[in-house]
């Protein structure tokens, strides 16, 4: 073989091997966490591992639409994960356990299913005592019907209720508020000369006195990010995914039939007084913590902190009660 032929063959071989090998090498050494809509697989990988105190550096990319990334039970700002781009995040955990990371953008009908876990190993400095949620200690059946038998004719006003409550022996304590539905408070209110409407105003005042403006603002933010896609911006159960959820429910093989099956997939309407005034804060906390068990309502217990759930519950009641601006 002549020298030019040999050299050219060597050159071509090196070029082809390089063209194939170099991209494969860098690709195999650049692990990314891929985000896809749940229908297409969600997070990949969806189980990550970390150690307490050691920074976990993540590179995230989206393979389809805009997603977001946040880790539940952690004080971190969500980051956007854009299609075809790489977002870098560094996390440091101070407690061992299993953390849930989740999508924070309304990426699709099954957005809420886009979750993964980070298994953090290491020794805890001090074991934390576990506290049972209130709905468990109260032994509430959160799936049982809880409709209010009486509802107000208009929206109860906490401002009017405050004026009326001064002369009434109303229990304003947090314990009482959390464990009773508005309807129960209305029903159990001592016999007074107040009209039904005035009594509902007093109930509204009790709910307002157990929250703060900051709590409502935080609850509103959490609601807008995580709940409004299904429950609607105004709480009417008419979010952008509501129709799709209903269609999915109709199409799915539900064991229940008729109107009940339809209800299974329809987001709760927080503006419905019959439903909402019959629900206690403990019951709503339970629904958020545990999820709706087959209704399409996700489980948020691994994501929201206790304070965040309290803020959310307070905000959800604001669809029923008129609070001072």
């Amino acid at each position: 073989m002549k020298r030019p032929e040999l050299l050219t063959r060597i050159l071509i071989t090196v070029a082809i091997v390089g063209a194939v090998g170099a991209p494969l090498y860098v690709w195999s050494h650049s692990p990314l966490i891929h985000a896809q809509m749940s229908e297409n697989g969600g997070w990949s990988p969806d189980i990550l591992r970390a150690e307490v105190g050691k920074p976990l550096h993540l590179k995230l990319t989206s393979d389809d639409v805009m997603h977001g990334f946040a880790v539940g039970q952690m004080n971190m700002d969500a980051v956007d994960v854009e299609p075809g781009k790489v977002t870098e995040v560094t996390l440091t955990f101070d407690k061992p356990g299993i953390y849930t990371f989740f999508c924070t953008r309304w990426c699709g009908l099954n957005h809420w299913r886009m979750r993964g876990t980070i298994e953090v190993s290491g020794s805890p400095s001090e074991p934390e005592p576990a506290t049972l949620p209130l709905y468990v200690t109260l032994n509430l059946d959160i799936d049982a019907p809880h409709d209010a038998r009486v509802i107000p004719s208009g929206q109860p006003s906490a401002m009017r209720g405050q004026e009326l409550a001064t002369d009434l022996p109303v229990d304003l304590s947090a314990e009482y508020y959390r464990s009773h539905s508005p309807y129960q408070v209305f029903r159990d209110m001592p016999n007074t000369a107040l009209t039904d409407s005035q009594r509902w105003d007093v109930v509204a005042y009790l709910w307002q006195s157990n929250t703060t403006k900051e709590s409502l603002i935080n609850g509103q933010k959490l609601y807008a990010q995580n709940c409004a896609a299904c429950h609607g911006e105004n709480g009417a159960g008419d979010g952008v995914f509501a129709d799709d959820l209903k269609a999915a429910g109709d199409a799915s093989a539900q064991t229940m039939t008729g109107a009940q099956a339809m209800k299974m997939q329809t987001p709760a309407n927080f503006t419905d007084p019959t439903r909402m005034l019959g629900a206690s804060p403990a019951l709503l906390q339970g629904k958020i913590l545990r999820g709706g068990m087959g209704t399409g309502m996700p489980m948020w217990g691994s994501i929201f902190t206790e304070d965040q759930i309290r803020d959310l519950v307070a905000y959800i009641y604001s669809f029923q009660f008129k609070y001072p601006k």
Partner: protein
Amino acid sequence: MAKIELTRTPFIKNALKSRYPQLAVFIIMLVGYIFAILAGLIGTPVGSHNFSIVFVWIAWWAILILVAVPFFGRGWCAVCPIPLPGEWLQRGAVLSPPDKKPKWLNLRVPKMFRNIWLQNISFLLLALFSSVLLTTPSITGIVLTTMLFAAIGLSTIFERRAFCRYLCPVGGFIGLYSQAAPIELRINDKHVCVTCEGKPCYNGSSAGYGCLWDVFPGGLTKNTYCGLCMECIRTCPHDNIAVNLRPFSADLAKPSTRMDEAFKAFIMLGSAMIYAGVLLGPWGALKDAAYNVGSSAWFVYVFIFLAIIFGILPCIFTLGIVRTKSSIPLKHRFASLSSTLIPLGLMFWVAFSLSFVLTNASYILAALSDPLGLGWNLFGTANTAWQPMLTSILAPAQTLALVGGLIWSARTAQKASNEVKVSSTPVIAYCFVLTSIMLWLLL
């Protein structure tokens, strides 16, 4: 305008005669092609950020349809990397002269396939899947790989570049439109070829390989099947091969009478119009139908696509020319007059491509810095935001291209009509209506 022989310039002559400049370009192209395949298969599935989509369907396409084909004809084929591995395998060498005894089967392509019908079919196959192909990197990677291996496979069975000549989906329309280009490879003196012993330009010699495109340069009258491989320049012992600069569409003065080429013109014309509607139009249902391959809507789309190309466009064209008085058979007239659609189709593609290339060109910068979507920023352009470019000149440029194409076609129609001795009016009217539709679709 008289022809200007570019190969009279020693620099050009030497650059074409030497094998090394072309080989250097070939190797760079092959590396880029392989990288595009890998980027498609392992890179980000987001088309707008994947090297394979951005560089093949935006950058390469822009260069091909806006520059290479209109000005250099088959210039792209001269540097295309797809046939190379198969060709090297076929020869058993990269530079050395071929052995007397073929290494592989070295068969002639059967006569029934020695036309561009297979190229018409392969183009249509890609066209029908184009919405997915143009947006899904993995599909692009698979198609590029398939083309590479098809070329290799055919090289081991048939002689010369059978893939390029008879199957390549791109080569078919490049050949058609290269007739309009102002570049040609021709012989200087016919008598030299007639008396030349051994015809090394076709059969090869120690100086180089026989024509890779199965063309005898001595008989070249149009660009369609000359792939500008430049082997004949190297092998001609009489220095009788020239690369000339010539007037645009010189080949169309003597229109072809082949039906495969005639239908190629309709396929390209119709595809440009359908693409303009599907990819650039405001009709979401149409886009969905084109994208959801295998769905019932897609089959309807396929039916309409094929009906327009093989039914509506040729039928209306035929109705226009059927009543023209001529002693020449209708089939002959149809094929000859369809050459009118070559400049029109080319300018339709230019106008269509301007729109989506200028809209998406900003993706090139981002993909250049992060070709695999791994978070790199090689040239500091990875975060370049998407922004349509030169939007203010887009509509005027498209209008100019379309109106220019109409005038060019009208001129071609007059020449073709003279050849078949019929009136050019129906054909010009046909071109006018199609141009109006295209203007409506694009503007």
